[in-house]
Each structure stands twice: as structure tokens, then as C-alpha cells.
Symmetry: C2
Subunit: 358 residues, 2 copies
């Protein structure tokens, strides 16, 4: 049984309407800023984290009583809010102009600054407001998790997972920053770094921990939780490897980002590290000169990477990771770890999250 | 009975050492960044928020059993962590180079970038890391509040206060940003804006809500909580008015900031709004031309403000606010709202927080 997207959106909308009212009580002039955050969360993307949360809940035997599941949906809304914080702050850090086919938050605020005829540096104003809006989203996410888990009398089980998840994603982002600024050109180090960043910045945060959090809310057995986490790590890394491929070869109409955006940003992906490991001489030099260079010929760079065989290697790795992730859910036929319904949905989600055009 | 500063520092140190270990497990290269955050929190400032938290706890009848008060100290540590987030992000927003007499966090990270020979824009690297370190501090603060309140079985009482406090301080910061960028020169509007920013960005966050949070943890009576909040609003605003005076006339050795820093930053204080309301003609024009202008003659600007009578008006207002705040704690002699010990400490703190050289 998948998450009900309308119900999730209704929970998000109701929660944010209440928060908006609190802010507007403080000062009505803040409404346009909060509305940017609300629009960002409503716009929403794929709701992958609530999906995995819900899978964890059902896999661990959480029921479908509406009163109980209301609390699970509130935690699902929290995952969308913390994701909003991560993306809004990430866009500032990456100096990204667009997100999901629209201006990124700091850009949108900078435009409002100019339109409203305010004084000072519009760009810095946009960055400043984006920092604070991300903070708001993070704080509100925490409130929702605490309230949801408290309603389920599961706070002592949920808190350690929630804490680990936030520390991991922030540490993963810091590591990304550090690695992007490092001068190492050693392919083995680059591969190890890219995999580690994938693991913490994406896999744990997107799949493993949301699954574990859902199972913790339901009071799942340790063996079930271990299986979900193993699945989550593998499928989560595969999800990021697909995202890396889309960042170079994806259709902008699907990704919501300009073609080859990752190349221009100089993102240190496993795809790039694998290509660098396979290349030598002139092609390697040309690739290195172009990566992270505004105005570089991204088609040419994408072609060099394709010629290295790295995309094929990534496709293979994605298939292997999906297979090993699904295998981890197995248990024996006599004592299955995960019920049929949740198993079917986890199988479906593994394919959706790593599909070529998702 | 005041907060025991050594015990508070021990709780902060133990907590952050555990968090540091979690981050270093993810990647050891992150240690220097986390250590910057730990150093920032350890360096600490005045621990005003834990002081008021503790006053709220004792005023509402919270006991001094070490096992119970350990949880209160954890919440006190959380207040120091959320303050670290607020200051680190504020320094990015205000582009402040220094804090407490040392380089601000984004500046310190930018220096590490240069020292370590990393690639890319050192300044943007510093800002990026500071955003993420502030996020970490915010997330860890939330964890500590949830854990502390859970241990006291007081989460349902504490959560609404904690939520309101975070929304208020972030809304106050956004309002500050908005007002600083506005083009209004109407003194009445400027006075109203400055007071509202004081209320939410400082008074509620520094005094009122910490007091209320401590009382909520102790399960205090509604009448006690109402009295503490009334005291907190008045004393909190007075505290900010003192801070505004120190921002113009304070000794850099005491404030840890360059002399007249608020004038260079163009901070929209009640002091400035009051001066503008009293001035006309050439002096007003000279003041307006200098405020927020790098390289302006801050001694001259401070002299113009002094000549307007605004500092004297602020001194009067501070005295009145401290008096009305203390009066709110009174109750009748037959049924005092606050016990003698807490009352004495609240009286002392009101004077300390608004003293000329604190």
C-alpha cells in the first residue's frame, strides 16, 4: 500500500497553514517569505522519503487505523520539511539558480527584493532569507517528528533514528563541501569519497533512515529493521548513482535542471571518479579542465565520460545494488522478514527510485 | 540559586563530545569543522538563556534532585546550542567579521580553507560550512530538548513553548532583514519595527520563553507562568535596549565587537529610531548618510545620536522596563507567585542583563 499523496499533502498544508498563521501574527509583512517556503514544500517532488517511512511502518506491522496513521503522516510531512531545508540550503551552497524547473529560493527572494524596491544587495538578501527559511523548515520538521512520535508513544524509539538521520545528512553535506574543495586527483580516493558522500548525504537520509524511522514508530522487530536498513543502504546508493547519471545525461524537462548541470557545478560524483580512473592523457586533461568551469562544453564533457565506459559501469552497479537490496528483505520462506504487501511496494519503489526517467 | 556554570559546561562538553564522535565516525576529516562549533559553544558568552531556564524551573517549584535536574541542564545546553545556530547564521547574514573578539565562524572556516590550500572560493566555502554548522547546532538542540523533556515526562508541556520560541526568533530575524532593507524613513514606523524585532528576536527568545520552558518542565501553575512571561518580555526588551547602547557606546574589550559596529552595519535599533525622531535638518541628513556606510566616522555619528537625547531616553526606558518586569513577579504578600529564592535571582538577573557593562 503506497502513501496516499492527497492525504500527505493535506497534512502538510494544514500544518504549514498553522505555522504561517503564527508567523503572520508576529508580522504580516513576513507572509510572502513564508509563502515561498510553503510553495516549495507543496511543489514537492517525488515524496520518496514519506514513501519509505510508510513502507517501514507497514513492513514492521504498523496498522491502518486512521487515528494512528495520522501521526505517521505527520512524521512523513516532517521528512518533506527537512528535505526543504536541505535543498534550500544546498542551493545557496551550490549557488544553484534553479530547482525543479523554477528559480531556487534565494534567487526567488532576491527577485522579490528587486521587485519591491528594497535597499541593499538583493543577492545577499536572498541568501539571508533562504538561510532563515531553511532554519524554519528544519525547526518545524523537528516539531512534527516529536509530536507524531509522542502521539504513538514511540519517542524513545524514534528519537535516536531521527538524530542519526540529521547528523548524517549534515555531515554528508559538509563532506561534499570538503571533498569538492580538495585538490586530490587520486581516482581511488575520489571513488571512496563519492561513495561515502552518497551513503550519508543520500542513501541514509533518503531510504535507510526513513524506513527505520517508520519501523521504529511501529515498534518493529530488530531483524525486520536490520533487513530494511540493508535494503535502504543499497537502494539509496543506487538512487544517487541514477541521480548522478541524470545530472549529466538527463532531460532538463524531467530533471528540472539545465543539461549537464552537475558538470558545470563540478559535482564530485562516482560517475566522474570512475571516468577519471579509466581515462588518461589528453582526454583526462580535457575533462579535468572542463569540470566545474562555467561555459565549458557540457556535451563534449558528457561524451568523454560516456566514452570512458563509466555510465555502463554505473548501470551495472545500480542493477547489482537493487538486486542485493531486495535480497536483504528475503529472510527464509518459512519466516519472511517482511509481509507481502510491504515487500511488493519496496520492490516497486526500488525500481521507481532507480528508473532511467523517474 | 544560580545555574552551576561548571555543571552546565560539563553537560555541554559531554553532549558535544558524543556528537563529535558520531561525525568523526562518518569521516575524520570533518573534525576541524565540528571543533569550530564546539569551541564556539564552549566559549559561550553569558549563559543567560540557561540562567532564565533554571529560574523558571525553580520559580515553578522544580526540585534540586540531581537526577531530575540533569534533564533541566540538558535543556539548558540546548539553549546554548540554538543560540550558537542563531549567532553563526546571523554573522553570515550581517557579514560580521568578528564575534566575541574572535573571527566569526564563516571567517574562521574561510581562513582554514586558505591555510589548507583548498580550491575554490574561500569566502563562499566559509559561508557554506557556517550554514551547515548552524544547522547541526539547531538539530542537536532539538534532540537535547526532546530528550530532556522526555526524561521529565514533560514533553507535551515543553513542546509548544519550544516551538513558539524557535518560530519567534526566526521570524524576528526575518523581520530584521526585511526592515533593514526597507526604504521607510517614518520615525514612528521605525520605532514600532525596532520594538517588534526586539520583542521576538531577543526578548521572547532570551528571557520570556526560556523562563516559560523551565516552568513548563516543572509543571508550574498558570499564574506563575504568566508572571514569568510578563517579567521576561519587559526585561528581555530592556536587555536588547542595553545591547543597542553597547553597540554604539560600548567598550570593544567588553563587547567583543569593534566600536560603533551597529552604526557601520546600519542596524535599525530603537536608539537610532528615537534619535531620528528627535533630529531635523542637517544633523538628520548627516546621520542618515553615515548609518550603514562603511568607513563612516562612527564617533561623529555616536555624537549626533547622543546630542539627540536618545541615549538618555533609552536609559529611562530600561529602568522602567526592569521595574515593571519585577513588579509583574509580585503577586500579593499573602500569595506570592514566585518563591523567595527564585525572586532574588530574577531580581539579580534583571539588573545583570541590563547593567551598563555586563
Amino acid at each position: 500500500m503506497p502513501v496516499d499523496p492527497d492525504r500527505l499533502q493535506a497534512v502538510i498544508s494544514a500544518e504549514l497553514a498553522q505555522r504561517r498563521a503564527e508567523v503572520v501574527t508576529i508580522d504580516g509583512r513576513l507572509a510572502p517569505l513564508v509563502d515561498l517556503l510553503i510553495g516549495f514544500v507543496a511543489d514537492g517532488g517525488k515524496r520518496l522519503r514519506p514513501e519509505f517511512l510508510w513502507c517501514g511502518w507497514t513492513a514492521a506491522g504498523g496498522g491502518d487505523d486512521p487515528a494512528t496513521t495520522a501521526a505517521v503522516y505527520r512524521v512523513g510531512a516532517a521528512l518533506e520539511l527537512i528535505q526543504a531545508c536541505a535543498l534550500i540550503h544546498d542551493d545557496v551552497i551550490d549557488r544553484s539558480d534553479s530547482r525543479r524547473g523554477r528559480p531556487s529560493t534565494h534567487r526567488a527572494v532576491a527577485k522579490e527584493h528587486a521587485d519591491a524596491g528594497l535597499t541593499g544587495d538583493a543577492e545577499h538578501y536572498g541568501v539571508s532569507a533562504a538561510i532563515l527559511l531553511g532554519d524554519l523548515a528544519l525547526a518545524w520538521a523537528d516539531d512534527l517528528v516529536a509530536e507524531g512520535a509522542l502521539a504513538l508513544d514511540a519517542l524513545d524509539r524514534a528519537l535516536p533514528v531521527w538524530r542519526a538521520m540529521r547528523t548524517e545528512v549534515l555531515a554528508g553535506q559538509m563532506l561534499d563541501l570538503l571533498v569538492t574543495a580538495s585538490t586530490t586527483t587520486d581516482p581511488a580516493q575520489q571513488e571512496a569519497d563519492a561513495l561515502r558522500i552518497n551513503r550519508y548525504k543520500t542513501a541514509a537520509y533518503t531510504v535507510e533512515r526513513p524506513l527505520q524511522l517508520g519501523a521504529a514508530l511501529a515498534g518493529g522487530a530488530a531483524s525486520t529493521i536490520a533487513a530494511l536498513r540493508a535494503y535502504g543502504t543499497d537502494v539509496g546508493i543506487a538512487f544517487q548513482l541514477r541521480d548522478d547519471l541524470l545530472g549529466v545525461y538527463g532531460d532538463p524537462a524531467v530533471t528540472g535542471k539545465p543539461a549537464g548541470d552537475d558538470l558545470v557545478e563540478g559535482k564530485r560524483t562516482l560517475l566522474l571518479a570512475t571516468a577519471r580512473a579509466a581515462l588518461t592523457g589528453q582526454l583526462l586533461a580535457e575533462l579535468d579542465a572542463g569540470i566545474g568551469t562555467p561555459g565549458a562544453d557540457v556535451d563534449r564533457l558528457a561524451g568523454i565520460i560516456a566514452g570512458s565506459g563509466a555510465p555502463d559501469a554505473m548501470e551495472q552497479r545500480i542493477s547489482q545494488l537493487v538486486a542485493s537490496g531486495l535480497a536483504a528483505l528475503g529472510g527464509s520462506d518459512d519466516s519472511p522478514l517482511i509481509g507481502d504487501g510491504a515487500l511488493a511496494r519496496l520492490t516497486e519503489l526500488a525500481r521507481l527510485a532507480t528508473a532511467r526517467r523517474f
